[in-house]
Symmetry: none
Subunit: 204 residues, 4 copies
Amino acid sequence: MQKKRSRIQIINQQKLLDAATEVFASYGFRGATIDQIADMAGMSKPNLLYYFKTKKEIYLAVLEQTLNKWLQSLQDWMVTGTPEETIINYINKKFEFSRDHPAGSRVFANEIMEGAPILKNLLGEDLKRLVGENTRVIKGWVTAGQIRPIEPIHLMFMIWAVTQHYADFSAQIETLTGKTLDDEDFYKQAKKTVIQIILGGILK
Amino acid sequence: MQKKRSRIQIINQQKLLDAATEVFASYGFRGATIDQIADMAGMSKPNLLYYFKTKKEIYLAVLEQTLNKWLQSLQDWMVTGTPEETIINYINKKFEFSRDHPAGSRVFANEIMEGAPILKNLLGEDLKRLVGENTRVIKGWVTAGQIRPIEPIHLMFMIWAVTQHYADFSAQIETLTGKTLDDEDFYKQAKKTVIQIILGGILK
Amino acid sequence: MQKKRSRIQIINQQKLLDAATEVFASYGFRGATIDQIADMAGMSKPNLLYYFKTKKEIYLAVLEQTLNKWLQSLQDWMVTGTPEETIINYINKKFEFSRDHPAGSRVFANEIMEGAPILKNLLGEDLKRLVGENTRVIKGWVTAGQIRPIEPIHLMFMIWAVTQHYADFSAQIETLTGKTLDDEDFYKQAKKTVIQIILGGILK
Amino acid sequence: MQKKRSRIQIINQQKLLDAATEVFASYGFRGATIDQIADMAGMSKPNLLYYFKTKKEIYLAVLEQTLNKWLQSLQDWMVTGTPEETIINYINKKFEFSRDHPAGSRVFANEIMEGAPILKNLLGEDLKRLVGENTRVIKGWVTAGQIRPIEPIHLMFMIWAVTQHYADFSAQIETLTGKTLDDEDFYKQAKKTVIQIILGGILK
DNA sequence: TATGAATGAGACTTCATTCAT
DNA sequence: TATGAATGAAGTCTCATTCAT
């Protein structure tokens, strides 16, 4: 039976999750400290541990929350019509995710760079299935002659890599351009260029 | 006055740098421990600290070494002729770096995701200059009508993002495909697809 | 002014004392936690602290309650007639206490093994007086030639030691014999053997 | 392969074991703190942890060391001749152990009162076997008519209980008599009385 | 009465660094 | 050069206790 969660509990847990996402994003699991998270959430350390019993528990909660949001951004892949529309829609969704959840994206990146000790299971299930469906769709386009013959999985990797790059490497991007995805013009320009190149690269 | 470095010193330092690169790659600066590095190098902790006085010092050495290799992979950008040849050559170089120095790539990624506290200066100088030169070249191609009108900096980001993705996210890639860049066929297929799409996207 | 105690108060306090006795018995004062006690009493921690303001306070209450029961088991020492009857009655009483209050016995043992920081005063008064009386009785028996010449205090220690051993070391006893004092046959056998040996040892 | 232990290591480990025995004796496993142990050994806390990686590890070492000494005090049970000699010798050994290792005795007592979570295995093996041998010897005496018919296991418990009582409850004994086993006269008197009663109780 | 929420003190443990040899 | 020994600082987590309702 799920414990009832009072209003304040929900608020505090979300405050903690947000703070934790930021901190884990910057330092990874081992590098992050509970102190930092509690500070950022404006809470005492023991109080944090009142809501999440261990550091690992809060990390898991962050990963789970982020994974859910991330998977949502992949759900609508097949609803639209032509390859062009579908790809555009997909890239849009991924760019949105990078802009709206840059810290979450980095938590993911960190976890995967550490060998994905925790995510491995989840990736191996939900994501694998999802990716399987998507690559089958792309393969269908190739077979039907709607796009050039390319290896679907690498197209997926390209889209992920590029869109996430704007979130994960924002420090580098900002150093080089002075801009981040929060800059509306820069955001549109990036999206436009990426869509332009990828569409140009796969459409006949 | 530069200390004389004996043969064994040079060997040990390199052994340590290699080990440190692996460990920092997996856990970031704060998450990595000197013990791990010493263990992986088959050395005692005090002995490690004989060669590098502090944890930060060895981290800096790793970053510097990696940055140098990374910059080298960008040097030859302008030597070749046509846009097509240049881009192909560039992507090849970046893929090679990802295959041959995956740990170095991840150390970079980690550092940048932490906000690049240390690299910021270097990135702000050497890299900025290099990127400036490259984007000017691309702009020239656009002006000359050799390629479609695209925003150069985003093309650069795309190439970096995609090629580094294969190193940084190898855990995810391996989970989904069962392959890594060490698999020769997979390596070629990835490279081919990426080149195909990007070239297709920018060439007229 | 004594606070009025409602029915529920009395019930809850006794529930808490029983739980606390078990927990203190297993872990000693420092090792026991308020959480454990509250859990075992089926009560919330703050509610426990409503009844007993501090951990020490509940510990004192447990000690006091146990000491009272323990002293009661020594009260009747002098009422009966012959040495034989008196000793048998005494050993019976002590065995009963061990069987009926094994946890209490262990709380005692723990307290004394920690140096009896709290009990010291009580032991130094009530018990000393009681023991004084008892040893005088035994001495009288010796002088009157009713029993062999033995040192009374060590006889007392023997009886205490042996009878309490069955409560305090029940884990060891159970491991070796598979039985506890709850086993009626084992209980009778133990009592019979102890009485047999001690009586045989002191009677002429 | 066993790590080589230098002279200083052996000295420090023994210093720590001695201190730990004292502290665990007083407060049990959970109640004892590493700080106390380190302090008592005149060592810093991290240095203690350099020799024993965890609190549990040092506790195990203490238990093991004590168990070995304790078992040694039981070894010679069968070597001597008559029941009388054997019992006297045995009680002497047990008294010696109580006088020479009172803290070790209390560590044992604490462990067993907590339910012997760790010792259970050891007790279930070595001790069970040893006790089995001893009770068989006593049974033989009974069958041969050398001693009165008594239940051997309870005789063993009596001897253990009484002799250990002088170590485990020394605080109570000191409060009541002002003496401890360190007092030579008191030691002899206790031993004499116990031997007198037990022998008187079992010999015909 | 009863309890969810909060916290300071302190416990165990890790780790970068230093010392002595 | 190399390493066993030692430590202060910091990190995770526990726990008695208090607060607010």
